[in-house]
Subunit: 176 residues, 2 copies
Amino acid sequence: MIKKRIAVDMDEVMADSISRFQEWYGRDFQLELTLDTLRGKSPHEAVAPEHQPALRAYPNAEGFFRDLPVIADSQRVLQALSERYEIFVATAAMEFPNSFLDKYRWLEQHFPFISWRNFVFCGDKSILNADYLIDDNAYNFDNFRGEGLLFDAPHNAHDTRHRRVHNWQELGDILL
Amino acid sequence: MIKKRIAVDMDEVMADSISRFQEWYGRDFQLELTLDTLRGKSPHEAVAPEHQPALRAYPNAEGFFRDLPVIADSQRVLQALSERYEIFVATAAMEFPNSFLDKYRWLEQHFPFISWRNFVFCGDKSILNADYLIDDNAYNFDNFRGEGLLFDAPHNAHDTRHRRVHNWQELGDILL
């Protein structure tokens, strides 16, 4: 039997990059970046205009993607999914070239059951030949050939066009 | 009209990595690695057993992919193809994590008309959703959903299972 294939985004789906924004924003400006202020917005849109350039620059700074916390239940559910599906990790890393090695090592460390052969660092995700794409950015579904599953995140709170999944437990219920 | 999509491999198709093997082999062992000895073989298979570990290690060494010469006519023909097709660059960079930044910067420098959104660093190329794949490694065509075009290289000299193209001029004749 040919396994169906799931492509999984990294940031905000496997790796908690919002916590890094919160940490660095607190470090640099002594202010709190709450999940509430992030609703419907990118991190830089959620702060004062004079802080926006700093937040835009964070993802390209050394270490931003290093040691990010793992999103709850993603390891357990992806491990179970990998028995029934081919799992590819697909991250828009090309936007942040300094992130390449950190992202690679993070995946090796936290998801050792996914082969490096199944890592995809890309930009436009319409290049993915997969049956499902789990992603927190709805624009990645626009020309995707399979079915998009929108992983809940503060910034996509107002999107109503796609099937929303709230956490990995729910993804397991749907796909297993 | 929707443009068809071409995925293009980097090494030995856009970038001349054989010249780097020849250069470093000469530097380290004062021996010549001729194109003739490379027929039907990977570089490490073409040298004495005691030199094989060194050649296997080269692609993961600092600078291996930096400043590689551009394969003849690839810029001109890809520029012309990009008018009629969507062009994606798809390289199995995951095998050599230290190559990521060098490959990214090389593409930016030599192929500025291809957006970083269309760069794909991957392992298993069956993840590509494209109509054509131009590649020197026939195994990349095995589960590829489109048509493979085998770009002529010494190591693939004995492959007869795929349509062979000898150079970029010929690719232009076929695809334009």
